[in-house]
Chain length 289, copies 2
């Protein structure tokens, strides 16, 4: 059984991993993409300690190397879902299922980087990032799901309980699999509608929808929040002074708990939460002994 699994390999997750490792706890870090910083076009000037501006992607990669050098296990994988088994948690990734006593959510915040026209306009107006959050509102409706990987299949499985009228949009990616629903593999050129989304326009046609679920990349923290019953306030995971969510054993740090969306703050969060995770584990391990 693992002691702690950290989801996210940005500043908060890696900083926590470094402090935990040095405190004698063996964390596992799971992450796939480089997060918001990996997308940065511009360089970073306000994070202390670099005499020349540093590229966001390089900073993230150096942080990963730093933790790795200290002996932290880092899995290049996508977490699809988290299950609370009462005494412990199951982390279901694209490749495997891991058991752990505690979890640190440090997934960061997904920046709006889908550049398809209409995306911003209808985000929250029929376009959803979270099947378990909004799926219920589309019972027996006509919906679309955008994605092509494991995460899309996970969302599809959930949504197929709500409605049978689902179209899969791969946005130009190949998907040679029969999933029981029509697959449109052309690139999407526009999301359209009036006050809410009404259709998805691809290179070759227009497809009416009542709602659309985006399941590209990795699940957002909101998705995990919903799976676990975590309290969300104004789009941020609610934590107490010890970075604990309302579910004992589930911690959160970095951008997803709100506050300044700054590297210095995420790094500080990581250092602080490591202490509280350490104490939590010491406590439950004592009780189990």
């Amino acid at each position: 059984m693992n002691q702690i699994i950290i989801i996210g390999k940005g500043p908060a997750g890696i900083s926590a991993a470094i402090y935990l490792k040095r405190a004698g706890v063996d964390p596992i870090v799971i992450g796939k993409d480089l997060g918001a910083l990996g997308d940065y076009k511009s360089s970073i000037e306000n994070y202390y300690g670099f005499d020349t501006p540093i590229d966001g992607k390089k900073l993230i990669q150096d942080g990963i190397k730093q933790a790795f050098s200290l002996g932290v296990r880092i899995l290049d994988d996508t977490v699809i879902s988290i299950k609370d088994n009462g005494s412990h948690f199951l982390i279901i990734t694209k490749n495997e299922t891991l058991e752990t006593k505690s979890v640190l959510l440090a997934t960061g915040k997904t920046r709006e980087n889908l550049t398809i026209p209409g995306y911003r306009k209808f985000r929250g107006k029929g376009i959803s990032m979270c099947a378990t959050c909004d799926g219920y509102f589309y019972r027996r409706k006509k919906i679309g799901i955008v994605g092509c990987g494991q995460y899309m299949k996970h969302e599809l499985e959930y949504l197929s309980r709500m409605t049978k009228d689902i179209t899969i949009f791969t946005h130009g990616n190949n998907l040679d699999e029969d999933l029981g629903f029509p697959i449109i593999d052309e690139r999407i050129v526009e999301f359209g509608g009036t006050d809410k989304i009404g259709f998805v326009k691809t290179e070759k046609g227009t497809h009416e929808v009542d709602g659309l679920f985006i399941a590209l990349g990795a699940p957002s923290s909101l998705e995990f929040a919903n799976q676990l019953g975590l309290i969300v306030e104004k789009g941020n995971l609610l934590v107490n002074q010890e970075y604990q969510t309302n579910v004992p054993g589930i911690f959160a740090a970095g951008d997803i708990i709100g506050g300044k969306l700054q590297i210095a703050k995420a790094v500080y969060d990581g250092m602080e939460v490591a202490d509280y995770i350490y104490k939590y584990l010491k406590d439950i391990n004592k009780k189990m002994a």
Copy 2:
């Protein structure tokens, strides 16, 4: 009139300077030595973002360069004293006197690095780091003062109001000046005594003292605290949630306010305090207008 003078060019001071500069405020940073990190023999592994361990001295120097590149004015000077003039503050350095509306104390904590035998034993037992804190207890007593620069002279001026029986120990440094008190310019080899300091042994002789004041390098934050009437608790400057000391306009951040003595925490403090200084200045500038 300057808006903000930051004393200390370590992680807290420089991080605050960077954030203030980017917020449109022109800070001046004053610092002389490299502080606790500059003394680090070992390298730093737990501050996020470096794929290989980084030398403490290099980190400090890179931080200074980073602020400088953004246009922050950095003075290589020692602050001797700070005076509260009611409407503003006077910063008296070795070289000049500056006026400012607000001050950020980010001097760090002096690590115990005097290696003379007996120093640790009698620290707090007759050996003091702060004339304005402890001078009063040595009225008409026989005291020594260790130092050779501007800071020593500042302490001497204060102590000479308490007693006329003062010996200056330069610890091997030259001091060709008549200061009105005997000067011993040999190296100190031992601090001796029984339950409290009783004598200073140099290469050529032994000198009895009732108390000894260390005035090497730069004044400690405690010294400034005493000059300004700041509240100190357990060796830390007391600040509120907005990093304000009990004297309006005087802020403090980093190691000197306590908490974890970690770079990540000092950098975070710097980012946070910058915001509060910005708001404070906006407020008082509005009142003045």
